[in-house]
Amino acid sequence: MVRFLLPIGTLFGLMFLWSLSIEIFEISKFILPAPVDVWHALLRDFNSLLMSLFSTLKITMIALFCAVVSGVGLALLFSLSKHFESAVYPFAVILQVTPIVSIAPLVLIWVGIDNVERALAIIAWLAAFFPILTNMSAGLRATDRNLEDLFKLYGAGPWQRFWGLSWPTALPYLLASLKVSGGLALIGAVVAEFVAGSGGATGIAWRILEAGNRLQTDKMFAGLILLTTLGVIIFYGLQAVEYWLLRYRRNG
């Protein structure tokens, strides 16, 4: 209970200081709106902001799904062939280390002109894909040597070995990377929307950008709050999935 109340108390304390400093220093609401103004903006624009949030959520989920499919698939191919891994892995690293903001305009030119959503999903996928690939690869290599011997001794086939040993061994690694990639997919989607600008994007990041151009700082904050809440929900949602799937790890 204390663990829950402490951060909430801190939040209210900070909001009080925030309101107080606006009064004392007479800060313009175009620079920093008071918490109560942000609250009003949130209520006023709630429906349109929520629609935009769903649009961003949709891109994020599509990207995360594609990242899981491609990351797991590629990790499986890596585990089957060292040569394939040597041939492909450096390019995965190059994609990872190149800042996503700098690739985004290219992706938008290539696939975004007739379908902006597809370009946004690709950019978010690029951001989310790498942790899944590396973690899944590590997980597939982490099988217990003794259990491998046991499977060999009793004549297990390759499928039995995979589903009975490799997959359950790799699952905790995959679930840990999902929590990282879930956040990265959201960041990727937001970055993509910023880069796309008014080119047809309707997500929450675009709403924030638009509010900024109109000097509606309170609405910017309202959008930011919704975006952060979404990030937190994604993280804890994936954490709950992990908690449930790995319940065998707990005693009793």
């Binding site: 217990d144 060999k152 001794l153 009793y154 359950p168 065998y248 790890r249 707990r250």
Partner: protein, 244 residues
């Protein structure tokens, strides 16, 4: 029922680990492999169990019937994501229809774990996990049990308990076995025959011939037992002098 002649083994580009080892294990016989670290004990066990292929020589399993193996490792090596029951049933699941479905309740009762079928390994103590791994090895109704330092990770009291459990199960089920150990006391207590290894070869052999009718404490203080221990120690010392 299991014999091997002139076994040689080395990893690619590595020093030879085994050079010309020969082993015979009769039906129902318990054989211990003892020797200093790095002498090739575990490699010999892996070759005999068919987990590695020798560079030279061959391993013959008995021709009259199909020999069923069981294996116990130094750590329990349970699947953490599977319940005790699922772990015990693993050999049956992997080898398919050849084996009758083992009676898990009976197996767990035999290793004193009755009623823990649905627990996960995380909820078991170290000794309990080890006993699950023994139940798993027995679930395939093995003719021969391969054990690679099976109780090395346990404390002394638990180790004695496991030794007695092993002897009791062996008497009930009649399986033979080959086990690698670092402990001369364990070798002398458990084995019908002890093979002492040095430098990739078998350098000596001892049969303790203990009177198994007595209680465990009586066996552990009997003259035959203590004689066997000192003979093993002497052989190990000879091997060390030859190496050094």
């Amino acid at each position: 029922m299991l014999s091997a002649t002139d076994l040689a083994f080395s990893y690619v580009d590595g020093e030879p680990i085994l050079g010309g080892a020969a082993v015979r294990i009769a039906n129902g016989e318990f054989v211990a492999l003892l020797g200093p670290s790095g002498c090739g004990k575990s490699t010999l066990l892996r070759l005999l169990a068919g987990l590695e292929t020798p560079n030279k020589g061959s391993v013959q399993w008995s021709l009259d019937r199909t020999l069923r193996p069981g294996i116990v490792f130094q750590d329990a090596a349970l699947m953490p994501w599977a319940t005790v029951k699922e772990n015990v049933l693993l050999p049956h699941k992997l080898s398919g229809a050849e084996l009758a479905v083992p009676n898990v309740d009976e197996l767990l009762a035999a290793v004193d774990l009755a009623g823990l079928n649905d627990r996960y390994p995380a909820a078991l103590s170290g000794g309990q996990r080890m006993r699950v791994s023994i139940a798993r090895a027995l679930s395939a109704s093995p003719d021969i049990l391969f054990m690679d330092e099976p109780f090395a990770a346990l404390d002394e009291i638990l180790r004695f308990q496991m030794n007695d459990l092993m002897l009791q199960l062996k008497a009930e089920k009649g399986f033979g076995g080959l086990f690698v150990t670092h402990s001369l006391y364990e070798a002398a207590y458990l084995a019908d025959r002890i093979l002492v290894m040095g430098n990739g070869k078998i350098i000596g052999e001892i049969s303790p011939e203990l009177d198994r009718g007595q209680r465990a404490e009586a066996v552990r203080t009997s003259k035959q037992y203590l004689d066997a221990v000192s003979k093993i120690a002497a052989l190990l010392a000879t091997g060390r002098r030859e190496n050094g």
